[in-house]
């Protein structure tokens, strides 16, 4: 009945693939009902998101943001904290980098400005996560609730700041001024021209680096050990001399910093200005990614790419097929999370029975 009976290849690959396939099957049913051919749509989707280099560039571009928000949620989860606030932390992180850029983009060269701006985004994200962390650690206020509240508060605050201070005079776009070139992240199509005109930029590389660091820190360092111990058993962590409140506060701040860094990709890598509600749900998708990727670096990477591909491919598909609104892909995303993230054992009994019969 459980996964333990199955060989590793089955739990690591066969089951997730079967689940993905099931989710797509349900999605295909809906697409069929909408009057389109599922097979053709899948073809378009894969082509647009993966095969076509420019499409792949967009897929990875979206993935870069999701890796950061996914990491943000994951690192908090390691400490047993469910940070729903990555959205707000990313939003405020965007303000941090924008302030740095607006102040310095006429005077500093890119190689100095960009790291400074990233520092700004991380610092603001961390600061925004500090209070929920502090309240959880010292007052026991549920971090789930406080981070939800902080998302709303961030939205109001950012609305106020952007509208009252950042919109250039006489403009109506609810966004800051466009950054000077020094603040534009170098694009990867400089090195890989085949990617064509995509916003894919060095933050994707940074995201990969962040994944590796995350893996190392969580599983290979003393601090990571303490982090996981706190997440799994607070009593034992206390017994082991780990400062629970310090761990919680620092973890939340790291989580916030990672969420803040997610802003770098979309603000400095694509729009080059800070606009109202720019995170557009990336923080929430981070939750899905952390849960689906089981907080494991490889899992986070793969689910980020899957989500990036769905957004990119789905968008292109809805361009071609008028009957399929883009919202269909929100629905499909949900299905995939449901099947791959919450029903991982759906086929375990059947597969296990099948393997047993073969043995005999």
């Amino acid at each position: 009945m459980n996964q333990a009976d199955l060989p590793r290849w089955a739990t690591a690959f066969a089951l997730p693939l079967l689940n993905l396939f099931s989710a797509l099957l349900v999605a295909a049913g809906v697409i069929y009902l909408l009057g389109e051919s599922p097979v053709e749509c899948l073809g378009i989707l894969i082509n647009a998101a993966v095969l076509n280099p420019e499409g792949l560039g967009y897929t990875l571009f979206y993935a870069a943001t999701f890796i950061f928000t996914g990491l943000s949620v994951s690192v908090a989860m390691q400490a047993g904290l469910f940070n729903i606030g990555s959205e707000g932390q990313m939003y405020v992180g965007g303000l941090g980098l924008t302030l740095v850029v607006l102040a310095l983009d006429s005077s500093l060269p890119g190689w100095l400005l960009i790291p400074l701006a990233m520092l700004g985004s991380a610092a603001f994200g961390a600061a925004w996560a500090f209070l929920p962390g502090y309240l959880q650690a010292k007052r026991g206020s549920h971090v789930v609730v406080t981070t939800i509240m902080f998302n709303f508060i961030a939205a109001s605050l950012m609305n106020y700041v952007i509208v009252s201070f950042l919109i250039p005079a006489g403009q109506q776009n609810t966004a800051s001024r466009v950054f000077a070139d020094a603040a534009w992240l170098p694009k990867l199509n400089g090195i890989l021209p085949v990617l064509g005109e995509t916003p894919l930029n060095i933050s994707f590389v940074l995201a990969l680096v962040a994944l590796v660091i995350y893996g190392l820190v969580v599983w290979r360092t003393t601090w990571g050990y303490q982090l996981r111990a706190t997440g799994l058993n607070q009593h034992a962590a206390h017994y082991a001399g780990i400062s629970i409140s310090k761990t919680i506060i620092i973890t939340m701040m790291i989580s916030g910093a990672l969420a803040g860094l997610a802003a770098v990709n979309s603000v400095m890598g694509s729009t080059h200005y800070l606009n109202l509600n720019f995170p557009a749900g990336a923080g929430f998708i981070g939750i899905a990614i952390a849960l689906m990727g089981r907080q494991h670096p490889l899992g986070i990477l793969l689910s980020s790419i899957l989500f990036g591909a769905l957004i990119q491919g789905g968008f292109d598909l809805s361009l071609e097929k008028a009957n399929i609104p883009p919202e269909t892909f929100i629905f499909i995303q949900g299905l995939i999370i449901l099947f791959c993230g919450a029903m991982e054992n759906l086929y375990a009994p059947a597969l296990s029975a099948l393997l047993k019969r073969k043995e005999k």
């Binding site: 333990a4 360092t221 601090w223 050990y225 799994l232 058993n233 034992a236 206390h238 017994y239 310090k246």
Partner: protein, 509 residues
């Protein structure tokens, strides 16, 4: 006469572990039947099969002569089977009454039944001399009383076959004695009782027949009258057991821990420790004896840095323990450990291990800071080596460092914790209930370890509710009652009656 319960060739396997293999024996109706065996021998698994928790992979189960397929606990209950588990099965934030009613409410509305059941409970309490307030909330009750609630539940349900899985592990001698009174009453009423315990004395005291298990199989069933504890112990572990362990002469060194006027008042203004003063010298074992819930747990917590005292002077080798000016104990245990204080906590599952970590990852819990290489990286190579060594040295079974520790039996988990704390080479060792739920073979080896530490000049504070254990280990015995030390005895003055009086708060001197 038909046996009340008959196991025929029962087998059960968990992954790689064969928990039960071809287990066959039968239990006469109206008898008290003991089941003993080492940790991990498969006793609980077998009982879980009887109670419908697990389904046997193969084999037959006969209740009163008829074959039964018990698929879940509801069906077991219908067959008149009741079980008191190793870990209490009580809903902590509910009242005794609600816990008793649970599953047997007898109607949609609770109110009318509540009155009825309450009256019935009071009557049962009287008849069996069980002192339990039906309206008390479980979490406010001591373990002994919680145990009584479990029994109460079974009486209320009028179970005819009653399984008790290590019911006395957390009870004092007195509490155990009153439990046995109840069991004898049961027997008189013709009920069948299955009793699992690691205390062979209890087997002799109360059972009619005893079945010994080892490594999932039955070694034999004998009539209690025809056996002795020594025989039983040998059957269990397959080798003779030494009951009186050799120890070096008492030659304590200088004072390691000095406690003066320690007080603890909790947030509800209840005084939990009152002017506790004592010291421990190098090379001696000081035991704190007492009924559980009299401040021992808090004392251990304070001495290990897990909790702050309200007032008092605590010195380790002449220096104050570093908690002055702190608002909470968050992170404090690390500082205490650095001073050479090791701690085997009472509740190992809660405090001492992380269930989802492997044995290896648990083998350095608390000492993680010491294992860092550069950049705070953990040195897995040496960790694995250390862990493998420890497992071999302490005979942990299975000796697989990568196994999730939750899958080890309780005794083996305890060995891992002991091994870890001893390996830290402490100056002061705090040990809480080291052998709770542990089989006698393991007890022997754990006791040997503790004595060896003492002989090596380490100061040891032992907290135990087992007087036998206190007698076997202690050089000096402090008795605690109501948070105050009520008396002190030297090892040679050991007197169970006097200690019993002191534990009850009665001063004899």
């Amino acid at each position: 006469m038909q046996p009340a319960v008959e196991f025929q060739q029962i087998s059960k396997r968990f992954g790689a572990v064969q928990a039960n293999r071809d287990v066959s024996f039968s239990i006469a109706p109206g008898s008290i039947h003991g089941v003993i065996g080492e940790n991990g021998a498969g006793k609980s698994t077998l009982m879980s099969i009887l109670y419908g928790y697990y389904r046997a992979d193969s084999g037959k189960l006969l209740i009163n002569g008829a074959e039964q397929h018990i698929r879940n606990s509801q069906e077991a209950i219908k067959l008149g089977i009741g079980m008191v588990h190793q870990h209490f099965m009580l809903v902590e934030n509910m009242t005794v009454l609600d816990n008793v009613m649970l599953g047997m409410e007898g109607g949609f509305r609770l109110k009318p039944q509540r009155h009825e059941v309450e009256a019935k409970l009071r009557e049962i309490c009287k008849r069996y001399s069980l002192d339990v307030d039906p309206l008390a909330t479980i979490q406010d009750l001591s373990v002994g009383v919680q145990q009584r609630v479990e029994i109460l539940k079974q009486i209320y349900r009028s179970a005819n076959i009653l399984i008790l899985d290590e019911p006395t592990a957390v009870l004092t001698v007195q509490e155990a004695a009153s439990l046995f009174e109840v069991l004898r009453l049961f027997k008189e009423q013709g009920k069948t009782i299955i009793l699992i315990t690691h205390k062979l004395q209890e087997i002799l005291e109360i059972t009619d027949q005893v079945t010994v298990m080892r490594a999932g199989t039955v070694i034999g069933s004998v009539a209690t009258a025809e056996t002795t504890t020594i025989q039983l112990a040998e059957m269990m572990v397959g080798r003779p057991i030494v009951t009186h362990l050799p120890r070096a002469a008492y030659a304590p060194g200088e004072t390691v821990l000095d406690v003066k006027d320690l007080n603890l008042v909790n947030s509800q203004k209840v005084s939990l420790l009152k002017n506790v003063s004592f010291n421990i010298r190098a090379g001696e074992i000081v035991a704190i004896a007492g009924v559980s819930g009299n401040g021992q747990s808090e004392l251990l917590e304070i001495l290990s840095g897990m909790r702050l005292p309200t007032s008092g002077k605590l010195q380790m080798q002449g220096k104050d323990l570093p908690f002055a000016g702190r608002k909470d104990a968050d992170g404090l245990p690390a500082n205490f450990r650095e001073l050479g204080i090791a701690h085997v906590p009472e509740d190992r599952l809660r405090d001492a291990v992380i269930k989802n970590f492997s044995v290896m990852m648990n083998s350095f819990l608390g000492y993680q800071k010491k294992l860092g290489k550069s950049f705070g990286l953990l040195d897995y190579k040496s960790i694995l080596k250390n862990c493998t060594d420890l497992l071999a040295k302490f005979d942990v079974r299975p000796a697989d460092p990568h196994l999730r520790i939750a899958l080890l039996s309780g005794g083996n988990q305890q060995k891992v914790v002991m091994a870890r704390e001893i390996a830290a080479n402490p100056k002061l060792m705090l040990v809480g209930q080291p052998t709770r739920g542990v089989d006698i073979g393991t007890i022997e080896s754990l006791h040997t370890r503790l004595l060896a530490m003492r002989d090596a000049g380490i100061a040891i504070l032992l907290v135990s509710v087992e007087l036998e254990e206190v007698r076997a280990l202690a050089d000096r015995i402090l008795v605690i009652s109501g948070g105050a030390i009520t008396g002190e005895l030297k090892a040679e003055e050991f007197d169970a009656t006097e200690i019993g009086c002191l534990m009850g708060g009665i001063h004899t001197h």
